[in-house]
Amino acid sequence: MTDRLLAPLHAIGTYFILMGRAFASVREVRTYWSNFITQMVRIGVESIPIVALAAAFTGAVLTVQTAYQLQTSFVPNTIIGSIVVPSMMLELAAVITAFILAGRVGARIAAELGTMRVSEQIDALEVMGLNSISFLILPRVLAGVVMFPALYIFACLIGIGGGLGIAEAAGLLSTTEFIEGARQFYQPFDPYFGLIKSITFGFIITSIACYKGYYTKGGAEGVGQSTTEAAVQSCVFVLLADLALAVLLL
């Protein structure tokens, strides 16, 4: 009974120790540099199509729905741009990207490291004299922290472009009106807030996935469990961090 109560505390402690050991080995650049580049490609570049698709549709749907909600009011059309652009910058580009990547990147990392653990590949790295944490975990977490903001910027551009495109195509409002609205209530802090969020989400998703994968136990069942837990827990902590950052920074 006590063990079950202490299990979450043990998990939190193990997670922080793992991250501490990962960042303490940051000087071993030679060990993880090529792996870091590979992970940036896998986490960032290979995620571009799905992030683009989700961002474009989110921006487009947000624009159509905002136009629908405002159709009977007497507010000017430019307000649609004033709502869509900050919504993408402050919330949707970062959160939608994070949810997609929790599934795509988080699950992949957990499954990859979990399989390496159960097939003794991590032990093999250790007995060769390599620091498996600096070799496997640090490049993935750093790649997440670097590539998530890049994907966020990309999602913002595509999402706003999607909204602008559908507004013009459906005759909801003109490009000029959309841009004018966006400029009207633009706060210079908005993109910075989104960037802070995306860095935080990048760290949360990759670090949780690494933790789950690295400490996988059992065989195929253990890998499946780690993968599921990584995706679910990443989403939960992304939402918690989203709220905390909004309360703290806005």
Binding site: T31, T115, S119, E120, Q121, D123, A124, E126, V127, M128, G129, L130, N131
Partner: protein, 254 residues
């Protein structure tokens, strides 16, 4: 020399090893034998510091690897080559890349020298043509031989084998046994072989250490294993010999 002193290990409520002491001498081939679940692999993982004992210590060339800082442990580990049960080859790499991996990180060889050493190691394990193949394209025995090539790439002082012949057909098992003997002779390495395959043990080992009931039950030269008056060891060895067909009466059904 590897010295294991009064080692205790448990996982939760399960005691696996109790007060195990064992010396492994330079240049010998020691077989750690015992039933499944007797703690053989757990003992082997202590030798390279993959597990920490609850009590006791492991000395490798007089370095207590249970208490040294991690960086020092990594240095000690560079003297080891380990053949894991499933090979533990990196899936994403070809056989050549797997063998080259430790050389790229821990040797100052040029790319051409690494390539030559990789070819030499693959030749040594009689797998010269599998270089471009990935582990998924190899059979179990081939994977183990490529893993062995990787384990010897840096010319280690100690080689640990975890169930090297498990899951292999008798002919492939014999090939692995021959390789273990060949490497022990040619490279003058100290070998520790965790196995329950007595046929292998008689082929390759100089000494055997029998784990039973959490303890080290018997240690001795391999040719003394039949001179026992020990019902537990006798039962294990006889059952194994019947199983592999090496016992004098195994082929004559009653």
């Amino acid at each position: 020399m590897i010295q294991i002193e009064h080692l205790h290990k448990s996982f939760g409520d399960l005691d696996v090893l109790e007060d195990v002491s064992l010396n492994i001498h330079e240049g010998e081939t020691l077989a750690i034998i015992g039933h499944s679940g007797s703690g053989k692999s757990v003992l082997m993982k202590h030798i390279v510091g993959l597990l920490s004992p609850d009590k006791g210590r492991v000395l490798v060339d007089d370095v207590d690897i249970c208490s040294v800082p991690y960086e020092r442990l990594r240095e000690v580990r560079k003297h080891f080559g380990v053949l894991f049960q499933g090979g533990a080859l990196f899936d994403s790499m070809t056989s050549e890349e797997n063998v080259a991996f430790p050389l790229e990180y821990f040797s100052s060889r040029s790319p051409a020298e690494i390539k030559a050493r990789v070819a030499e190691c693959l030749e040594l394990v009689r797998m010269p043509d599998v270089g471009p193949k990935k582990p998924a394209e190899l059979s179990g025995g081939m994977r183990k031989r490529v893993a062995l090539a990787r384990a010897i790439a840096l010319e280690p002082k100690y080689i640990l084998y975890d169930e090297p012949t498990s899951g292999l057909d008798p002919q492939t098992s014999n090939t692995i046994d021959e390789l273990i003997q060949q490497l022990a002779e040619e490279m003058n390495v100290t070998s520790v072989v965790v196995t329950h395959d007595m046929h292998s043990v008689f082929n390759i080992a100089d000494r055997a250490a029998f784990l039973y009931g959490k303890n080290l039950h018997w240690v001795g030269p391999i040719n003394a294993i039949h001179d026992r008056a020990d019902p537990v060891l006798d039962s294990f060895v006889t059952a194994s010999e019947y199983h592999v067909g090496t016992h004098p009466t195994a082929s004559s059904p009653s």
